[in-house]
Symmetry: D2
């Protein structure tokens, strides 16, 4: 039973390498999470444990894949960004996307009981889909991130008001929807404040800003780098000596992966963390006492 | 903070719908499973519990996705086949592949403790990559399946002999490799029999044939159908009335999903199960007593 | 000035091989031919010389590319079909499409003066765009051809009536459009007959049916072949011995390429010409006296 | 004969829009031009009329397609560059590539008799294939252009020496090949000078540098622009008002398209012509008396 007569079927595989010198964003989304949230009685508008679980799974992904320079998550979605010089898996789209989706799913299920000790999982289980998009310039990639964070803000303001009207205002969902139809941000802020005494600005940053995950080094002085222009003008291929490459890998592996809730729309975030755009590891921060294990819930 | 100025980034998404009227095979593979197998001390050459766990996860995938007509697994890989008329997710490649990879991973982690109650998982966790390939004709798709099953046979005969030489023959791996270099199937069968008294034909079917998963109906009389020719000649789009389509879906959902260890290279398997190629549900089998839940290990 | 430092730019080329075992249809279309037709005062609704020029250029393409099994043209468009086993240029899409577009354009310009001796070309010159589509089964490919021929019929009946109303009925184009709005085929036939004494059935076949180009061999007895089923069930790769392959190539090169105006929707056309679907050259016809040069206008 | 039952075949068309915000280079190549050159007895190592014909056809393409910012040609190949903001044909690859290939072919055949009045074309006719490649950054695109021009230099120095050895040195081609094996540029320069009294630097620029085609405006002061950095940092979509867009189009149409033989590897070429990278039309040059028609051979 030689299998050579059937091996021709390998010819039907299509190559799927992503265009070199572009930023690769892999976004994953929870499948049917509205229903899933109901099944496990998640709190509205935000369930802190659910977000912490998403963040812990995403942190594990970033920790295991040093080619990722940043990740950003809101609700049941997470975006992972490979640096434009990334050569992992020869940039094969399927490998990059499925490795992220599978690793994320794996940690999500594994860590579930830490975050929901009182609500054991049962089939049908949660799962995630994902896809990759290439962005040619730093501006395009940052605009993608800004788009997601603006979405986070818009959705969270809406949801916070919507659920206040229901949970504290006694409306049903149709009534709440009607009450919010046509309102702008100012209206919702006003409504929250006058009706429920809530100052939206004081809401937790994790809900308003979403979560950013990256390797942490010493912050740069503002204005001391122009990592964006440098990144854009760098052409392929970046030629590192083997030893230099090893040194950088080591630094990356040792760097602390952190979960923060910062503004990533303004320049400041990027200017002070030039390593994200340059992919050159920064200077290690003085040691702190926070945990670094990707698998502990103690962020 | 309107996000309209950043929404243009959606234009960078590339459409990825797979060619209509082709069989879509999604194959997933364990990432770094050689190392993983050592970590959990799996038995050589085959660890029955590891295979049963793969099968249970794959059965859950097939059960949750009725568009899958058959799946075939060996070692740490599994191939899932969507019927050529499948329109799930508008045939978008990323959605199809990542949904399978994520669902599979989810059940794999979830069910782990049932199959390895004595060996709790710890990071780094197992994960799987995957990709899709389109096959235009029934012959191409069946040749793909034959290729995998022939590989199963070739690898298992080799591995069985190799590990006999080591575990019972006292060789180290270099010696065993040398002993097998240049041998053909007959030589290995002979060696197993004369040296170790093993008749390879009596080895468990799950090791020799791999595992086939499909919905089970009453077998057809051999020669009563020509599902392959019918499937090939059917052009897009299959026009089912809504009620007909609902009826078929219901039948599929009710059908028992089974795991078998059969020859899928010869015609007989396909001739007697015309529903796999036609995608028309067969006649329900008389009820048996076996469990049908995808999440129990009792196959 | 070694160019090695720049050669990395080759890595940005994306592979574009078309899925094996599928019928590849390359359709080309005249760019801006409405305007072009006016510039050279082509007759309405059909300019015979313009169609003959299209046919002559297409015949040259089919003659120079023996991997093409059939071509079909109407108005300023032409569809060329590569057999599903075709391996020309490793099935690279760009090569296949641009070779056809360029060869066609080349002959179109070169032959122009034979068909329009009184109207010399001047810039801007005519040009054509093109694209490839893969069809997995014989049914899909034949349905594509039927679609084009049905379009030919529908357009020609409409245009014939439309231009009768204008040229002989004295209407302007708005009036003619209004007169035809909402009419079905029967209405137009009736109108042509009662108003202008034209029996549409007696119109020239080239206008009603379009033009089919193929290699011509002795017709098969109806029912003697089932080339479609055979073609569909044949899997990759077809293994011809080198000498057999050479023999077939020679037969193809010697075969007469003909331009006909036949019904290609019904089975009869395909049943009697099994070589189109099988790609196995038929038996040479008894010699006739017609010209076979691709570059003479004497069809 | 409604064609609705066949229209589903349109679903098999695959979208092929190129990634936004990338430079699109379309390169075309003569098919079988070694044989073709022999058929028309072109001069070795360079036939000036053949190059002039290539340039005239390419100039017509650039003139007819204002989205092209630059083109570069050597031997029987030509590269055409669309600005990264180009939205022509919605950036559909097939349309962009085939339109260039067809327009180029059209002019090549049409203008042939002007350049080779004594050698009328006969079948098989010349034709060209082509493909598109996307480059994300200015550096990548300029490196592509540098690669082609370095190739031009390397090939021309080799060919000039090779044909001197044959035509004036009395060698056959094997002997000439052997004589040049392992030589570097310096060796060939030396050989040309000492053996044949040829100073390679004095060879015609068109042979040494190839041909560059672009719209010509008043040169900028060196150092006054940083068009590359600007181009790289500009994200999609460039929002021009309709009237502004019209004004720019008009300027482009009026600009003179020139064929030059300049160094495009060094920065100077690009620094002084910032309109190529910025796609903002420059200031019209004071009128000169040279011809601007794309179809005259008088460059």
């Amino acid at each position: 039973m030689a299998n050579s007569k059937w091996e021709y079927v390998k010819l039907f595989e299509r190559p799927d390498q992503l265009l070199p010198n572009t930023w690769v964003v892999v976004r994953i989304d929870g499948r049917g999470f509205t229903k899933f949230a109901n099944k496990y009685s998640w709190e509205k508008p935000n369930d802190r444990r659910a977000l912490d679980l998403m963040n812990a799974a995403a942190k594990a992904v970033v920790t295991e894949m040093p080619d990722l320079v940043i990740a950003y998550g809101i609700s049941d979605e997470y975006s992972f960004v490979f640096h434009k010089t990334c050569k992992l898996f020869e940039r094969r789209e399927s490998k990059l996307v499925t490795t992220i989706v599978s690793t994320f799913t794996s940690y999500y299920i594994y860590l579930w009981s830490q975050y929901f000790p009182d609500r054991p999982l049962s089939p049908p289980l949660p799962s995630f889909d994902g896809r990759a998009v290439c962005y040619p310039s730093v501006s395009n990639m940052r605009d993608y991130m800004s788009w997601r964070q603006a979405d986070c803000h818009i959705n969270n303001l809406y949801n916070t008001t919507f659920w206040c009207l229901i949970l504290r205002g006694g409306m049903n969902s149709q009534e709440a929807e009607r009450a919010l139809a046509g309102t702008v941000s100012g209206d919702k802020n006003e409504l929250l404040f006058t009706k429920f005494g809530i100052n939206y600005n004081n809401e937790p940053e994790i809900y308003k800003k979403g979560s950013v995950i990256f390797r942490d080094y010493e912050l740069a002085e503002p204005g001391s780098h122009n990592a964006a222009a440098e990144a854009d003008s760098t052409a392929e291929p970046v030629q590192l000596s083997k030893s230099q490459s090893e040194r950088e890998k080591k630094k990356r592996t040792k760097a602390k992966v952190v979960i923060e809730h910062l503004d990533i729309i303004k320049d400041d975030f990027w200017d002070r963390r030039p390593w994200i755009l340059s992919n050159k590891p920064g200077k290690a921060r003085a040691q702190t006492t926070r945990e670094t294990s990707p698998c502990l819930a103690s962020e």
